[in-house]
């Protein structure tokens, strides 16, 4: 190992870091036949970088050489960066070295496309196979599928990895044609469809016999770049909903577009991209865990998420007729829709109220965020918001939170100059 390896690792990590997928959850792989490692189904973050993102997997490219020229990508063919590669053996050795020191939870292996999709896919599989067979590695592996790779290779990839993914990157066919002219929508969606049906079949087969090897036990994920093209939040959230429902994806990641290369087809840096990304993730959670559907959160009249309010509060403000809700009677599904009540606190409310009616004061100790929830609930018929639901100030209260009383110095009114006087002092008029 020389500095040469360090340089290559740096370049290849730099090329992979814009892929935001980070999770190491969803797969519980036991440590088998005396090998190293295991996968914890809850996922484990090992550290956090200065941008606040977690590091769970060793996220690297096999190579940053690429035959494609996608406008948004740092590794595009026409970009002037140094091109390097790691061999499958080097990838395996690095992974094991980091893993044994508990730096990482596993490997996230992506790559630029060299020669052909199939050739590249084979390289990735070879690295992962070395890890699983030679090192008997039972840790987590997330493997990228190369768009356009042979279905047989896709199937193999899923047998070695815990999670596989293809990045959709751009929400619509048109944007893809504009910014990634070498890729077609079908070459991206094709493998996703295939993986989805393979997962379903595998699940059925494993019900018959536990000896059938697992196929991508942690499912598949994808990523959408937000803000590089003109799609509305409504288009994006609706797309995610379809991906979750039809292709049974585990996660859709959103990546706020931050220009790394200049291109006339790309917009300048969009305004508050991180805020938008954050709101999209909130909406995504509402889809997956709170029983919301995309059309409830966004419609033609308001195609974009409110940047000042979280999507659930926004929805509640549009449906004031459903509130206030009596927490001692509301169903679990109704509780989940109250701003300030999450999955955990809803479950705890249900459990706790079996032992007796809950009062307003009990709620905070159950984990309810009263700052938001107080306006939307009653407990034993009591309402705790300072102003009613009809109040026109409700929205501004939810945006800013309840007004805090600032401490004021007590003094005699005589000593304070009146407002007029101060004004005249400034203007010089008497």
């Amino acid at each position: 190992m020389a500095t040469d390896l360090m340089d290559r690792l740096k370049i290849l990590a730099d090329g992979a870091k814009y892929d935001v997928s980070c999770s190491s959850s969803g797969s519980s792989r036991a440590n088998s036949n005396g090998g190293v490692g295991s996968a914890a189904s809850c996922g484990i973050c090992h550290t956090w970088t200065s941008d606040g993102r977690c590091v769970s997997l060793l996220k690297i490219l096999m190579t940053n050489r690429c035959i494609y020229d996608c406008a948004y990508c740092i590794n595009r063919r026409s970009n002037d960066v140094q091109r390097v590669a790691l061999s499958p053996a080097e990838v395996a050795e690095l992974t094991i070295g980091f893993y044994r020191r508990n730096y990482i939870e596993g490997l996230f292996l992506s790559t630029g496309v060299v020669r052909s999709a199939d050739y590249t896919m084979e390289l990735l599989i070879q690295a992962v196979r070395t890890l699983r067979e030679q090192y008997r590695f039972n840790g987590y592996i997330h493997l990228k599928l190369v768009p356009g790779a042979d279905p047989q290779l896709v199937q193999q990839a899923g047998l070695w990895a815990d999670r596989v993914s293809v990045n959709l990157e751009l929400p619509t066919r048109e944007s893809l044609a504009l910014l990634a002219p070498d890729k077609t929508r079908d070459s991206v969606v094709g493998p996703m469809r295939q993986v989805s049906s393979l997962i379903v079949t595998n699940r059925a087969e494993r019900k018959q016999s536990r000896k059938v090897p697992r196929f991508a036990p942690a499912g598949q994920s994808t990523q959408l770049i937000v803000g590089a093209t003109g799609e509305s939040d409504r288009q994006i959230v609706t797309l995610s909903e379809q991906l979750y429902q039809r292709l049974d994806l585990k996660r859709v990641y959103y990546s706020a577009f931050i220009p790394t290369v200049t291109d006339s087809r790309l917009p300048a840096r969009p305004e508050a991209p991180l805020r938008r990304e954050h709101r999209l993730y909130q909406a995504d959670w509402l889809l997956r865990y709170y029983g919301f559907s995309a059309h409830e959160l966004l419609d033609e009249a308001s195609p974009n998420l409110d940047s000042e309010l979280d999507p659930k509060t926004g929805w509640a403000l549009r449906h004031l007729e459903l509130f206030p809700l009596e927490i001692n009677r509301a169903s679990y599904e109704e509780l989940l829709r109250v701003p300030g009540i999450g999955v955990r606190s809803a479950q705890r409310i249900i459990r706790a109220r079996r032992q007796g009616h809950l009062g307003i004061d009990d709620l905070a100790s159950l984990g309810v965020v009263m700052k938001r929830a107080r306006y939307f609930i009653t407990a034993r018929g009591r309402y705790a918001g300072e102003s009613g639901l009809e109040s026109s100030a409700l929205r501004s209260r939810l945006v800013d939170g309840p007004k805090q009383k600032r401490p004021v110095q007590l003094s005699l009114a005589l000593e304070q100059p009146s407002v007029d006087e101060t004004a005249s002092l400034i203007t010089g008029e008497l």
């Binding site: 190992m1 390896l5 360090m6 690792l9 740096k10 990590a13 730099d14 870091k17 814009y18 036991a30 440590n31 005396g34 090998g35 190293v36 490692g37 295991s38 914890a40 809850c42 484990i44 973050c45 090992h46 550290t47 956090w48 970088t49 200065s50 941008d51 606040g52 993102r53 977690c54 590091v55 769970s56 060793l58 996220k59 690095l94 070295g97 980091f98 044994r100 020191r101 508990n102 730096y103 939870e105 840790g139 706020a256 931050i258 991180l274 705890r348 459990r351 706790a352 079996r354 032992q355 809950l358 009990d362 709620l363 100790s365 159950l366």
Partner: protein
């Protein structure tokens, strides 16, 4: 009986104390761990002497009585490092003696809510340390990691590492509480032992290389346009960083 009680600081001591006080429904104001040598003549505290047999019998009864969930809460709280944990647990057990398993649902009760909160804190810290352990390979092949967590979480994380690194010899050393886990790869067993550092660990040359690789890898990962140091500090508090390789720690 009402007032302040003390025990010798051991788990058996604490359990003996509970075994003696609970049947009397004693009104307790304070429970403190006082080491034997510090126990003075003029102490107002009532000192409960440790009785191993009483403690064991009490624990046996408790594990049978409690639901899996409250046992989990209790285990975590016993491992906590909190100035009032003994009293909080006492109040919880007192309520349990009255209410039995109904206590599982009494989440908002003033004797239950703090126990739940404390157990959450301990559980959360234990989970965080599944990621924050940094092993260094020492001459002779042992992997050594040191930490200084707020709570005594070693017993909660031992099984995870014993499974994951079942083929390597390792030690996780909690410097703050002076104890450590030693894993024996031959026998596939792990033990919690009192532990002290006597010398600076002697690392292998390969270790230094991997540490350098990891540091440089970590440094490239952040995206400058997204810098958010406050978020990072919430996730990786400074007190944890002194043991993390990527933050320049040991």
């Amino acid at each position: 009986m009402s007032g302040c009680y003390s025990y010798d600081g051991s788990l058996a001591g604490l359990l003996t104390l509970y075994a003696r006080l609970l049947p009397e429904r004693a009104d307790v104001e304070r429970i403190s761990a006082t080491l034997l040598e510090q126990q003075g003549l003029f102490n107002s505290e009532i000192c409960i002497a440790t009785d191993q047999a009483v403690a064991e019998a009490f624990w046996q009864r408790l594990t049978k009585r409690l639901s899996g969930n409250s046992l989990k809460l209790l285990r975590r709280c016993l491992l906590a490092d909190h100035p009032q944990q003994e009293l909080l647990i006492y109040n919880y057990l007192l309520l349990e003696a009255d209410q039995g398993r109904r206590i599982d649902g009494m989440l908002a009760h003033p004797a239950v809510a703090p126990i739940w909160k404390l157990s959450q804190q301990v559980g959360r810290e234990a989970h965080r340390y599944l990621g924050f352990i940094r092993f260094q390979q020492l001459q002779g092949g042992l992997y050594y990691a040191s930490i200084a967590p707020d709570h005594r979480i070693l017993l909660l994380i031992g099984a995870h590492f014993a499974e994951r690194f079942s083929d390597q010899q390792w030690v996780i050393h909690d410097q703050r509480h002076g104890e450590g886990i030693l894993y024996d790869a031959e026998k596939k067993e792990w033990l919690l032992l009192p532990m002290e550092v006597t010398a600076r660990p002697d690392v292998t040359p390969e270790e230094a290389q991997f540490q350098a690789l990891w540091r440089s890898y970590f440094a490239t990962l952040a995206i400058p346009e997204r810098t958010n140091l406050k978020l990072q500090q919430g996730k990786v508090p400074f007190k944890a960083r002194i043991f993390l390789t990527e933050f320049g720690g040991v």
